[in-house]
């Protein structure tokens, strides 16, 4: 290996890495410290002498209590969770079947279909939200969870299909052929032999899809209107700021609690998530 001097390692490795860690994680620390700081300390002029912004000696859970008791935050949390799980399941179902067909079966227009699914993957939601809002209204889906459960798959299905197609291509054809010689139908071989092998791929796609739907904002903002129907990101934006006044303690408590579920799911499945992430951009 390349031998390095000690000071070099500090200058080129430890110091930059530490700066990266601080820069990346500081906003989260700031979220946390704000959420447990009493209001009297929060709104102190930045030039006040006794100001110590980086820690607090009077931690409080008031903001969390207010958030849980006085707002519909718990409902938003549940809505977000339900919508994210439902749209992920729908997308996995569609992606699994379509991915298998594109990876394994020969049929006319296979190439064209594959390409067009890939192109829809690159269509950003902000291009379509205005006409989609109209369509959702016409389907009588406005202000229901179904408006999101059915539209989130538009950016999840292409991704799941793409990822799973890649995964299926790595599974040797012989496995399927053996099963078919033993009398399994093509459909049976797919469901009983190929899908179980693809579980890691399915998990990667599922975790990634879940975080994407938890993160989604513009559709939820445009399609939902009543406070008790909203998801966490939209609820925080539209209900926690009353008029022009920002209740930063509560806002940061909400931001923290709204991030925890998705961060938990992520921390349990880091490796799968990373596979999903890197797979999402591979051709």
């Amino acid at each position: 290996m390349v031998i390095e001097r000690r000071w070099k390692k500090w200058v080129f490795f430890y110091i930059p890495l530490t700066l990266f860690i601080i820069g990346t994680l500081f906003p989260f620390y700031w979220m946390f410290i704000t959420s447990i700081r009493p209001d009297a300390e929060l709104y102190r002029s930045w030039r006040a002498v006794n100001n110590a912004p980086f820690w607090t000696l009077h931690p409080t859970l008031d903001h969390f209590q207010d958030l849980m008791a006085k707002t519909t935050f718990p409902t938003w949390l549940w809505n977000t969770f339900f919508i994210a799980v439902a749209s992920t399941l729908i997308s996995l179902f569609c992606g699994l079947l379509a991915g298998y067909a594109l990876a394994r079966l020969r049929f006319p227009l296979a190439g064209t279909l594959g390409t067009s699914i890939f192109v829809t993957y690159l269509v950003p939601p902000t291009l379509l939200f205005i006409p989609l809002a109209d369509i959702i209204r016409n389907f009588q889906l406005g202000n229901t969870p179904w408006a999101l459960i059915l539209t989130y798959p538009t950016f999840l299905v292409p991704f799941c299909t793409w990822l799973l197609m890649g995964y299926f291509k790595t599974i040797p054809r012989e496995l399927e052929e053996c099963a078919r010689i033993d009398g399994a139908s093509r459909f049976g071989a797919m469901v009983r032999i190929i899908f179980p092998i693809a579980v890691p791929g399915i998990l990667s796609a599922g975790i990634f899809a879940f975080t994407l739907s938890w993160n989604e904002f513009i559709y939820a903002l445009v399609f939902l209107s009543s406070p008790e129907r909203k998801t966490v990101p939209v609820g925080v934006v539209s209900e926690l700021i009353r008029g022009d006044i920002y209740f930063w303690g509560q806002l940061m408590a909400g931001a923290l609690l709204g991030s925890v579920p998705v961060a938990l799911v992520y921390s349990f499945f880091v490796e799968y998530y990373v596979t999903g992430l890197t797979g999402s951009v591979k051709g």
């Binding site: 079966l105 950003p124 093509r186 993160n215 951009v281």
Partner: protein, 322 residues
């Protein structure tokens, strides 16, 4: 297997059950239909195609129609030709939004790529706690953008900014910086936040690319007397180019069509100076209710997206051809 029944005509299915064919009789008539690749493919693709057709292709056609009509919320519009596009093109706020979007996308992508590459190179080395560091580096990318952007907005707060406090205490500034109360500063802050959020995506995908590079190549290059920079430039970078291109394409599309970050951080203000195409489309199409004009604004994203997607597809084709 393709044609299990010899001379299989009309009543073959019925005959087959009666005949002692151990293999083929196990396949039920219902599932045998699925043995046809075309039919099975059609069935398997149907859910995805139906969903994408209803909620992507149909809205797209609808969007084009809306942009050519005078529709507003509550009133069905009439066909007005390219009037919306003309109006939008002559709108000074739109022009500024378009320019902002270009600057925002260009600078943020540049920063994300260079910082992401740097972080990937750091993470590619061996050190204690590597897995934990790598996992925590991805947090900005996982956490909902809207929520983390609020933390940034609070850090940029005009009266209580912790950044102002720190810089002041360290003696770098004498008065507070106008983070979000000035258009240019506002866009700068948005670029910083976008970089913070998107950089891990670059770092982790580039790291995955780095790990596929054979360490022997570096060894050989350093034996030949190449220094660290030369090893990066002549060995790592050329091998990393394909994955870099793909990541950049994805990032450009996401940044170019960004909405939530600006919506939360500046809301397009002060005085409409930090709008992006998407936030301006929202303001006109949803907040004001001019659906036709709003749809026209979003469609202005299309040419740029089209070029990017075309480049990506061409690149994919070339990979398949090779």
């Amino acid at each position: 297997m393709k044609n299990p029944i010899a001379g299989g005509a009309g009543g073959a299915a019925g005959v087959e059950v009666a005949l002692p064919h151990p293999r083929t009789s196990r396949v039920q008539p219902r599932t045998r239909v699925l043995e046809s690749e075309r039919l099975l493919a059609a069935l398997l693709l149907a859910p995805a195609v139906l969903l994408l057709g209803t909620f992507i292709a149909y809205p797209f056609v609808m969007g084009v129609w809306l942009s050519l009509s005078s529709t507003t919320v509550g009133t069905a519009g009439t066909f007005v030709g390219l009037k919306n596009f003309e109006k939008v093109w002559n709108d000074s706020i739109f022009r500024e939004a378009f320019q902002n979007t270009a600057i925002y996308t260009g600078l943020a992508t540049l920063f994300k790529l260079s910082l992401g590459m740097w972080l990937a190179l750091l993470l590619n080395r061996h050190f204690r706690g590597k897995r934990l560091v790598r996992a925590s580096m991805l947090l900005p990318f996982i956490v909902p953008t809207v929520l983390s952007t609020y933390a940034w907005r609070w850090m940029f707060d005009p009266t209580f900014s912790v950044l102002n406090w720190t810089l002041y205490k360290l003696g770098f500034i004498a008065d507070k910086l106008p983070f979000l109360s000035d258009g240019v500063w506002g866009l700068g802050c948005a670029i910083v936040v976008n970089t913070w959020r998107g950089m891990p995506f670059f770092a982790i995908t580039l790291l995955a690319g780095l790990q596929t590079i054979n360490p022997d190549l570096h060894e050989a290059a350093s034996l030949d007397g190449a220094n660290a920079w030369e090893r990066f430039w002549y060995v790592t970078w050329p091998l990393l180019k394909p994955v870099t291109l793909v990541v950049v394409v994805f990032s450009v599309i996401q940044t170019f069509s960004d909405f939530q970050l600006i919506y939360v951080l500046t809301g397009g203000g002060p005085a409409n100076s930090t709008h992006l195409i998407a936030t301006y489309a929202y303001q006109i199409g949803v907040a004001t209710g001019l659906l036709g004009e709003g749809a026209a604004i979003s469609l202005f994203m299309l040419p740029v997206l089209f070029i990017v997607v075309w480049l990506q597809l061409r690149y994919l084709r070339r990979l398949e051809g090779a």
